[in-house]
C-alpha cells in the first residue's frame, strides 16, 4: 500500500527497535539525509544498518552510530578519513561489523528483492572474507556462496515520484536505491518532486511503484 506523507517524521514512524534498515547512498550522493535525521529523532535503537559506508563526518548515519543506536553495520567500506564515530565504536567493541565486498553487497540486496535464496560468485574466493562460507568450482573458477540481505525498512532518495509511486533518480545518486527499494518489506522514499500519475514517461521509470510504500517530499 502506497502512502504520501507530509513529514519525514511520519514517514519513519513505524520503525521499531531491532529493525534492519537499509539506507541508500554512496558517499553523499543519494543519501537520504532528512530521513536519517528523522530516524534519529524517532528513537528507534538496536538497529542493524545496511549501507555502503558507516557514516561520514558529524551528520546522518555517523550521528546514529555515535548515539549508540546501531548495533551492527553491514557495509563494504567503513573506514574513511572522516568516519571517526564508527572508528571509535568499532575499536571500543561497541558495534558489530559485517564487511562485504561492494559487488557482493549489491547482489545480496538484489537477490533479496528478487526472491533468490543465494548465489555463487567468484568475488572474494580465496580471501579472508570467504572464510567459513561454502565454495564450489564452477566453470573452472572458485566461487563463494552468498546469501540474500533482507531488510524491514529501506530509506532511500529519488529525484521524482509520480502518483503511483514510480521513481526516477538523478545521475550517480541512483546507486543502491532501486535494489534496496525491492529488498525491504517497507520502503520509504524522499523525493524532490511529486508529479501526478502519468507525469513520468513509463519508458523511463527506474523503480516501479510496486516496491514503494511511503513517499515524502523534501524541499
Amino acid at each position: 500500500m502506497l502512502n504520501f506523507v507530509d513529514s519525514v517524521g511520519e514517514a519513519v514512524a513505524g520503525i521499531e527497535d531491532g529493525s534492519t534498515v537499509m539506507i541508500g547512498g554512496f558517499g553523499n550522493a543519494g543519501q537520504p539525509f532528512e530521513l536519517i535525521d528523522a530516524l534519529m529523532d524517532c528513537g528507534a535503537t538496536d538497529l542493524t544498518v545496511v549501507n555502503n559506508n558507516a557514516g561520514q563526518g558529524d551528520q546522518g548515519l555517523a550521528l546514529l552510530i555515535k548515539e549508540g543506536r546501531v548495533k551492527k553495520m553491514i557495509c563494504s567500506f567503513p573506514r574513511q578519513s572522516d568516519s571517526w564515530h564508527f572508528d571509535e565504536k568499532y575499536k571500543a567493541g561497541e558495534i558489530e561489523l559485517e564487511l562485504v565486498p561492494q559487488g557482493n553487497l549489491a547482489e545480496r540486496i538484489r537477490a533479496a528483492g528478487a526472491g533468490i535464496g543465494g548465489f555463487f560468485t567468484p568475488t572474494g574466493y580465496g580471501t579472508m572474507l570467504a572464510e567459513g562460507k561454502e565454495t564450489r568450482i564452477i566453470d573452472g573458477r572458485g566461487q563463494v556462496f552468498e546469501t540474500p540481505i533482507h531488510a524491514d525498512v529501506a530509506l532511500i532518495k529519488a529525484l521524482k515520484a509520480d502518483g503511483k509511486g514510480n521513481l526516477v533518480y538523478r545521475k550517480t545518486a541512483r546507486n543502491f536505491g532501486p535494489i534496496m527499494a525491492a529488498a525491504a518489506k517497507h520502503t520509504v522514499v524522499q523525493v524532490s518532486e511529486i508529479v501526478a500519475a502519468g507525469g513520468l514517461d513509463p519508458e523511463n521509470i527506474v523503480t516501479p511503484g510496486i516496491y514503494v510504500n511511503s513517499i515524502v517530499k523534501v524541499a
Binding site: 554512496f26 558517499g27 553523499n28 550522493a29 543519494g30 555502503n52 563494504s76 567500506f77 567503513p78 573506514r79 574513511q80 564508527f86 572508528d87 568499532y90 575499536k91 561489523l97 564487511l99 562485504v100 565486498p101 561492494q102 559487488g103 557482493n104 549489491a106 547482489e107 540486496i109 538484489r110 560468485t121 567468484p122 568475488t123 572474494g124 574466493y125 580465496g126 580471501t127 579472508m128 572474507l129 572458485g142 533518480y169 538523478r170 545521475k171 550517480t172 545518486a173 541512483r174 546507486n175 543502491f176 536505491g177 532501486p178 535494489i179 527506474v206
Partner: protein, 229 residues
Amino acid sequence: MSPQTTSQDLQTSDKPLGRDDLARMVAKDIAAGSFVNLGIGQPTLVSNYLLPEQNITLHTENGMLGMGPEAVGDEIDGDLINAGKIPVTELPGASYFHHADSFAIMRGGHLDICVLGAFQVSATGDLANWHTGAPDAIPAVGGAMDLATGAKDVFVMMTLLTRDGASKIVEACTYPLTGIGCVTRVYTDKAVFLTGPDGVSVRETFGCTLEELQDLVPVPLKAGPAVGL
C-alpha cells in the same frame, strides 16, 4: 618469448619512471575502444593521458559508464561523483545504472581492463591491495575484490619497492589477499612485469638492467619479448 632478447633490449629508459610517465605508458597500452575502470589513487592519473582518438569508455562502480574528467567550478554536482567520491563530469553517450548492474558489468567480464594499486603482487598474479592485516586496522574492502576478479585484464600500478626497500612483487603475498591469480600486468617505476600461471616475465626496464632488477625481486624473472618485437 624471444630467444634473442637481451637485457639491453629491455631497458627503454635510462632512469626510473615517475608517476606521470608511468600513467602515460599505461594509457598508451590500453587498446582503442576499451571499457576501463581506473581504481582510486595512482591509477586515476591514467585518465589524464587517454587520447580522444582512443575512444575509451570509463566505468565507475557507483553506477556510470562514460565518465568524464574531474568537475571544476560550476560543473560540480553532488549527484555526480566517482568511486573516490570526487565530483566528475559526464561525456556524451554516458549512462547511469544501479549498483547491482554496475557490479554485474564488472563480475560478468564486460570490462576490458581494470587498473589498480597494490601492496603486493605474487609471482602468479595474486593481488593484495585492501588490508594490511594489522590487528588494529579497521578493515574496508569497497569494490577492490570485485574489480580484481571481474575485468578481463587487471593491471597494477605501484612502486616496485616499499619505503623500506622490500620488493612488492613477492613469491606469495603476506598481506591478506584481494584475489587469486587475477593480475596480468604490473607497471612499476623500475619495470613492467607480465604475471600469470607460468611466473613473471619482464617487458621492459627503466634505469636498470634485467640483472639489476633480479637483485631486487625475490622471484625468478624471465626476459619477455622486447618492446616493439
